[in-house]
């Protein structure tokens, strides 16, 4: 049903994780589809046995060993090991410990807006609720908060990370093509939580160069 809904084309939208525009969100979507496939397989097997067992022509003997060891232990262990290992490998790639970002931006959350600060040749530039990045390049966002916990989330580019007072968290994002990408605060942060959104603007090389040398966005 879910897949059907996807096929209907309802997966677009400014905040849709199903319409990725960067490598992290893209590989996460692939991960999701693989997990969904495994889940569907498991569901069909287990619920299928349930439905078969409901049919009443009984008198069958049961191999408890087959059910418990085969179905209860081996079957989930195989699938879970695969999913976990896949997830860990992907997670290592997304967090990109060895990757050198082209740019670092400080994202500071406070009730209920975002401030994005980056260093340019002409000094530091801060914009409220708009995060300028160069398209096609990996950008590190250093996420912090001055009051309560918020979360930085641009669904089309990557997963989310919390903005926690007293702590700075790092997340890598990259937009493959120039454009505007919606971002929201994902962690409940009080009465203004709903409106605490922002926009990531990915500029092409030309526009970015102009921006870096002091042009207006």
């Amino acid at each position: 049903m879910l897949l059907g809904a996807l096929a209907l084309g309802g997966c677009g939208g400014r905040l849709s994780a199903l319409d990725p525009a960067g490598p992290a969100a893209d590989s996460t979507l692939t991960l999701f589809l693989i997990l969904l496939g495994l889940a569907a397989l498991s569901f069909v097997i287990i619920f299928g046995i349930f439905l078969l067992a409901l049919r009443r022509n009984r008198g069958r003997t049961v191999s408890l060993r087959l059910f418990i060891i085969g179905g209860g232990l081996v079957f989930p262990l195989v699938l879970l090991s695969f999913a976990t290992v896949y997830g860990v490998v992907l997670g290592e790639r997304i967090t990109g410990a060895r990757e050198v970002p082209a740019l670092t931006v400080a994202a500071t959350a406070q009730q209920w807006r975002w401030q994005f600060t980056r260093q340019t040749p002409g000094g530091s530039v801060t914009r409220a609720d708009i995060l300028d990045i160069p398209a096609g390049q990996t950008v590190a966002i250093m996420v912090a908060s001055t009051d309560v916990i918020h979360a930085f989330w641009v669904p089309r580019l990557a997963g989310k990370v919390d903005a926690i007072p007293g702590l700075t968290n790092r997340i890598l994002i990259r937009a493959d093509v120039p454009g505007r990408y919606g971002g929201v605060c994902a962690e409940f942060c009080g009465t203004g939580h709903t409106g605490m959104d922002f926009t990531v603007v990915a500029h092409d090389a030309e526009a970015w160069a102009a921006l870096e040398t002091g042009g207006q966005p």
Partner: protein, 833 residues
Amino acid sequence: MSALKLHGELDAVWGVPRGWRGVLTSVNHSDLGIRFMVAAGVYFAIGGVLAMMIRAQLATPRSAFIGPEIYNQVFTMHGSLMMFMFAIPFFEGLAMYLLPKLLGSRDLAFPRLSAFGWWCYLFGGSILLVAMAVGLAPDGGWFMYTPLASKTYTPGINADVWLLGITFVEISAVCASIEITVSVLKLRAPGMSLGRMPIFAWYILVTALMMVVGFPPLILASTLLEIERAFGWPFFDPQRGGNPLLWQHLFWLFGHPEVYIIFLPAAGVVSTVLPVMVRHTLLGYGWIVGSILVLGFFSFGLWVHHMFATGIPHLALALFSAASALVAVPTVVQLFAWLATMWAGRPQMRLPMLYIAGFFFNFLLGGLTGVMLAIVPFNWQVHDTAFVTAHLHYVLIGGFIFPMLAGVYYWLPRFTARRSHPLLGQLGFWLIFVGFNVTFLVMHLTGLLGMPRRIYTYEPGLGWEWPNLISSIGSFVMTFGFAVVLIDGVLAIVFGRRSSRNPWRASTLEWALPMPAPSYNLASLPHVESREPLDRYHKLAQSLAMGEGYLGRTRDGLRETTGVEVVSGRVSEIVILPGNSWLPIATAAATGSFFLALLLGYYWLAPIALLGVASLLWRWAAPLGARADLGPIDIGRGASVLPHHEAAEAPGWWGSVFALVTNATFFSSMLFGYAFLATVGPGWPPPVMVQPSLLAGGVVFGAVTLAFLAEGFAFRRMLAGDMGSAGTGLVVAIAALLICMLGLLAFGWLGLPSPRDHAYGAVTWVMLIYGALHGFIALVVLAFVRRRIAAGYVSPARMLEPRVARLWLRYGLAAMLIVLAAIALPGAASWRW
């Protein structure tokens, strides 16, 4: 003796007075179990109405139905009520009602404690409801993350309502957990070894043990946050050395096991009801017991999967990810044990089985999305979105409501002695099942389309309009379904035809009781020789009613039931239970005034309320025990055993053991918090460390040693029958405990910085107060024993009270020494006199 005469005699001993007096003083487990379930049902309805408000608000974009202030209260209360006021109390009620009947016992081990828990639940819930009615309900989300829930960002009383109200209700949960654990371990019919227990008792035992160690971290977290809010001690404030993540660790250290605490009793219902519905013994009993033990254990190692986005290093997350995936295995083992049972049997699609089918379908989906959420990168994407909302409702409604409704329909004849009409029940099922799936299946997609949790409205154009509308329509269908189930239940109680004694032809002992259940459960207790006692002896019910089992008589108007050896189930003692009492409601009221005093800011009243609680507890213990050695008493069927106060392992001693396990978990969580703050800061090491006074520390250490030795001396003199010297020994121990307490406080006074400036001062002072408080508790307990010796309740044969006191004393002494070491050792460089 005729069955009727025996019934009259037993009912005179076990019955409840008519009218209000009976309502207020009853300690009967059937009464209290039903009350818990009915009240939980009322809270479920209230929580459901709140859910309807959420769905009405979100049905369309830019809805103006409710604004963010009210919306925040609504979803916070929805989650809090469903978790703390519905799910936990409901299965507690079911367990309280069923356990003694399943185990062939006459009541639970601590009947007054059940009643006390009930009143705490009722009063605590009332605080929450009143706050909601006047618009001061909590509004920080049901997990109350700091610093949002701290004073700066939630200055009003709303957060205090949550912290104090929920903690008050948790007292009820902790009481129930100790009560249930000891009852399952000790209060069974003779012959019922652990391996012959009905499977439901195993599930409830593991659940109760998980609650014993699962709730303390949350109670600690709530206590610390309330202290921070009330007195400004900065545990969670990053500007003063606190850490907001400490709250999350403590909360989820409770919160994740909580999910399994809710699921396991429901799975226990499935394991009980399914075999009856498919007419076959449960296959894989041993596998199931093993898997729930593993599940209970591992569920404490997963809490970090609620915190994948908090910036914890990825490889640490990978460990928790693997653990979270692995914990699915014991659940799948259970699924396949059920499938094997079905495969071997002849399933009959009666109403409870229909709900079990619904459980299979929905819980499977919830479990599968749970595994998806355990995979870190996917979790980063959908954490805090509607996807998680959908997942958790599949787990909780699929894994709790559906099995519990199966259980309610299965045991409805047991509760009410009536049967319901199958057609209305089926209509209710299909409305709930279809409505539920329409609501929540599409909600996964809503989350993937980027809709975060807890937003009160949204703009059109994000693709969220139609999934939200579908969810809202489905939720109203589901509500109609619940209404039909309610009507069905009411109709069954009023008009239903009378049920026979064992309508499902089940084989567990609860169906051996007459309909409706009498106050004493069984007129005499069976000797259990198999896991399915009713299967083997078709005449068992009649024979027990005739008094042919154990204790088929009354003695001195005492409430008697059998106590057994924990593992073998051999009868080991007669347990004499206390009768109806005003003490539970009075103690709960005194406890309630303590919480209300804190809530309303009348801090001077709080110690007075606590003194009230302490003096009531003293009276609580006073009527137990005996002044003469009775020796073995005949219990029928040729067996004679000691009364429990002369036996080696009385329930009261076990109760204290588990109370101390809870307490030790609380203390360990505190030490964890101290270590956590010290290692991850921020703002540590603190500007001012302790300057330990060697003199004060030495005095505490010496007095602890003295108290230990003096009590040991007194205990040995009691065993020797020399009560005079024993009394003197106890007086010395009491004096030593007083010195311990004062020494500990002096140690803090002389060397510790202010608790308001830095989390270091706050956490060390809290530990110090904890130590001193346990010195005080030990002191009171020893004073009680001293009084009991004087009043003739202690003899070399009746050593139960001194043995219980010894547990509390030794725990208190150990706590004081650990506190002293934990505070003084890091400051060892600056020792001074």
